[in-house]
């Protein structure tokens, strides 16, 4: 039972991590139907930016909580700027072109960003110092859940609520839903779709940056290549839940996290990634539009 609980919690943590990246994926997909392969790289850049600023501020002698706060904010700012810039350079000109072209452009961006970080920073794995505070009230249950895991869970839950509110109740959320449904019609009723798409990229990238900082703190290391695998996993999670759907992305991420955790815990640790993919195949075979995806009527 104890083992089970441990696996459940580690699976939940993993799931929340995937969710932070998958949310950005699914939002971008929902609005412009683009598989944003560069999303994982944004997350990596978020992690790196926080590491850089964190290191700098810490060496200036600031206390850890202040360092954490400022470096996370800066990571968000930079990741959002990257997301915004990438959309302007590489995706906007291809908006009315064949969809595969935008996908290739996204893969190109992904290669460029990876190699840029490789050249500008380092190719080695760097240890990631954690500035997250130790939470004393977790002492009694610390064999199940540590402070980092706890913070990850809380942050994911908060972001999820915030996003749902944003999309359901705000003006910009309404504009996003309109753009997602029909770009031309949204434009006709006065939605500035360029702006909406930019904002979507900014929000998605900000989430990726938060994810980046949290995951790197949890894993304790960073490298220029971490974005690729995380991006693929998040993509799988988003599709599992029904791509374009926000609760779907979160649910999909949890299913993915639990599968990996229980699969490695009870079956075999060689096949960690295979379990996740196998569950994807099974679910899509039974429910081709994902767990919470809308089954849209197809028209000619």
């Amino acid at each position: 039972m104890e083992y089970f609980l441990k696996l459940l919690l580690s699976g939940t943590t993993k799931g929340s991590i995937y969710a932070l990246i998958a949310l950005g994926y699914t939002m971008v997909y929902g609005v412009i139907q683009l598989i944003n392969f560069a999303h994982g790289e944004i997350y990596m850049i978020g992690g790196f930016t926080a590491l850089i600023f964190g290191g700098f501020l810490y060496s200036m002698g600031l206390p850890a909580p202040v360092v954490l706060l400022i470096s996370v904010i800066l990571a968000i700012v930079y990741a959002a700027s990257f997301g915004f810039t990438i959309e302007r350079i590489a995706y906007r000109p291809l908006r009315n072109k064949p969809r595969l072209s935008a996908l290739i452009s996204a893969i190109g961006i992904s290669i460029v960003l990876q190699n840029f970080v490789l050249l500008a920073q380092t190719e080695k794995y760097l240890a990631y110092p954690s500035y997250l505070p130790d939470l004393p009230f977790l002492q009694p249950v610390k064999q199940y859940i540590n402070a980092t895991q706890f913070i990850i869970l809380i942050v994911t839950a908060l972001i999820m609520v915030f996003l749902t509110m944003l999309i359901k109740y705000t003006r910009i959320g309404k504009a996003m839903r309109a753009t997602a449904q029909d770009k031309d019609m949204a434009q006709l009723v006065g939605v500035n779709i360029n702006q909406v798409i930019s904002i979507t990229f900014i929000i998605g990238s900000s989430l990726a940056a938060i994810g980046g900082v949290l995951i790197c703190s949890y894993m304790g290391q960073i490298n220029y290549y971490i974005g690729f695998i995380a991006g693929i996993k998040a993509f799988v999670a988003a599709v599992l839940g029904g791509i374009g759907s926000i609760p779907g992305a979160v649910l999909g991420s949890f299913v993915l996290g639990w599968t990996e955790s229980f699969g490695t815990g009870y079956l075999s640790s060689d096949y960690e990634d295979a379990f996740a993919l196998l569950i994807l195949v099974l679910i899509l075979t039974v429910k081709p539009e994902g767990l919470l995806g809308k089954n849209q009527k197809q028209k000619v």
Partner: protein, 429 residues
């Protein structure tokens, strides 16, 4: 007015220079290093002016290039440079009988002479490129004709390579004992691996028949990765992560070939298979099945309403694509004499897909050009050492932004009603 426009461009470019300095500041100016769990940062201030100048220059060039591209788009597409060259060449060929004979002969001659005049290294590079041409032509059936996005294509490539590898591993020693040269197996594997891959293609496509678009892409991705992990983890049969080594090169009438001669031999085998592939793919394209596949790509529902069996069509698409990947896999195993699961990662599938899209989805000359560009450019970029991949990515983005239909876009076959009243296909490639 004109001068005003240039001033405005420069002002914008300066602004973008400032933006890029801001954007790249942490990654390019601050260099982080972590010692003993404590991160420290060193500053590289000299990078700031470099970034600024590069960004301003790049932004100006970019702006003008985009504008030029837009104006080009506004002109008649039939008048673009590529089409004019194509038309010019075909007109020239029509008028000039001699050229019509001499030019193809020259091309064939150059292809045949290539391994003899270039060294072993270049021959091997060219063989890998040609193997990828076969792969890309196969994927082009799936993506270009059928419109099904397959991100697990490397799995079929692996099926081919492993069919030959395993066949040799498990029967080779026995054959050698009996006194039969095991390199014979290459010729048996070539069609056999294609068929095995085809079988895999059919089996894997059964559960995905209901899926569309990106769901299909992700599930093929999943299959590809699962397959690779199985290869990696079933060490007793497939050799696991270390793979299979010392796979024999193809048999040549019992003659023991030196590595250089073997490379030339494999080059010719690959080249003839490329020609065969092109021939078959062209026949498919113009056949009833090919037209049905294209109809499926354009609109599945309309296609079904016209009485085309979608299930059968999708199976055919996957099977045909997988077959060529299997054949290409055998060639890879024979060329490198060594295979392991790392040669068949998701990245490999993405590379082939990129070759298809950058060359021009659906266009045979385009796909060939795209593959050669993607596979040969990095070889010649080697002089740029660590900047190679960065520039490669930049080049890809530029190509796709300025030629989003690919380098040699597909020209649809036009069917015209002839004056006698009989329909006959008038094909343009």
């Amino acid at each position: 007015m004109k001068q005003n426009g240039i001033l405005k461009d420069i002002a914008q470019a300066l602004l973008q220079g400032v933006w890029f300095v801001f954007l790249l500041f942490p990654l390019l100016v601050m260099k982080v290093s972590v010692v003993g769990g404590v991160a420290s940062v060193t500053f590289r201030w000299t990078n700031i002016p470099l970034v600024f100048v590069a960004a301003v220059g790049g932004s100006l060039l970019w702006r003008w290039a985009l504008r030029w591209n837009e104006q080009k788009g506004a002109r008649d597409p039939e008048n673009s440079l590529g089409v004019r060259i194509q038309n010019g060449v075909s007109a020239f060929l029509k008028q000039n009988r001699l050229a019509r004979v001499v030019l193809p002969l020259l091309l064939i001659g150059a292809l045949l002479a290539y391994p003899l005049v270039s060294g072993m290294y270049h021959t091997n590079v060219m063989i890998s490129a040609l193997i990828y041409v076969i792969l890309a032509l196969g994927l082009n059936i799936v993506v270009g004709l059928g419109g099904l996005l397959n991100l697990g294509y490397a799995a079929f490539f692996a099926v081919g390579a492993y069919t030959y590898g395993l066949l040799w591993k498990h029967t080779g020693p026995w054959l050698a004992q009996v006194g039969i040269d095991p390199s014979w197996l290459f010729w048996i594997s070539l069609p056999f691996a294609g068929l095995v891959a085809l079988l895999f293609g059919v089996l894997l496509s059964l559960p995905v028949l209901r899926l569309r678009g990106d769901y299909l892409a992700i599930i093929t991705l999943a299959f590809g990765e699962i397959f690779r992990m199985v290869l990696q983890n079933s060490g007793d049969i497939t050799g696991g992560a270390t793979g299979i080594s010392l796979i024999p090169r193809p048999w040549f009438f019992g003659v023991k070939l030196t590595p250089h001669m073997a490379a030339i031999y494999i080059y010719y085998i690959t080249l003839s298979l490329v020609v065969f592939t092109i021939f078959v793919v062209r026949r498919i394209e113009n056949s009833r099945v090919g037209r049905a596949l294209e109809a499926m790509r354009e609109d599945e529902i309309a296609c079904e309403a016209m009485g085309i069996d979608l299930v059968k069509n999708k199976l055919i698409t996957f099977a045909l694509g997988a077959f060529w990947a299997g054949v290409a896999g055998v060639l890879l195993a024979a060329q490198t004499t060594y295979i392991n699961p790392d040669s068949f990662t998701l990245w490999e599938s993405i590379m082939v897909l990129m070759a298809v899209v950058i060359g021009g989805t659906g266009s045979i000359p385009g796909v060939i050009a795209g593959t050669l560009v993607l596979k040969l450019l990095p070889e010649y970029f080697r002089a740029l050492a660590q900047y190679r991949m960065l520039l490669y990515g930049v080049a890809m983005i530029i190509v796709i932004l300025f030629k989003s239909d690919g380098l040699i876009p597909r020209r649809r076959t036009e069917y015209r009603l002839e004056q006698e009243g009989s329909t006959s296909p008038e094909g343009h490639l």
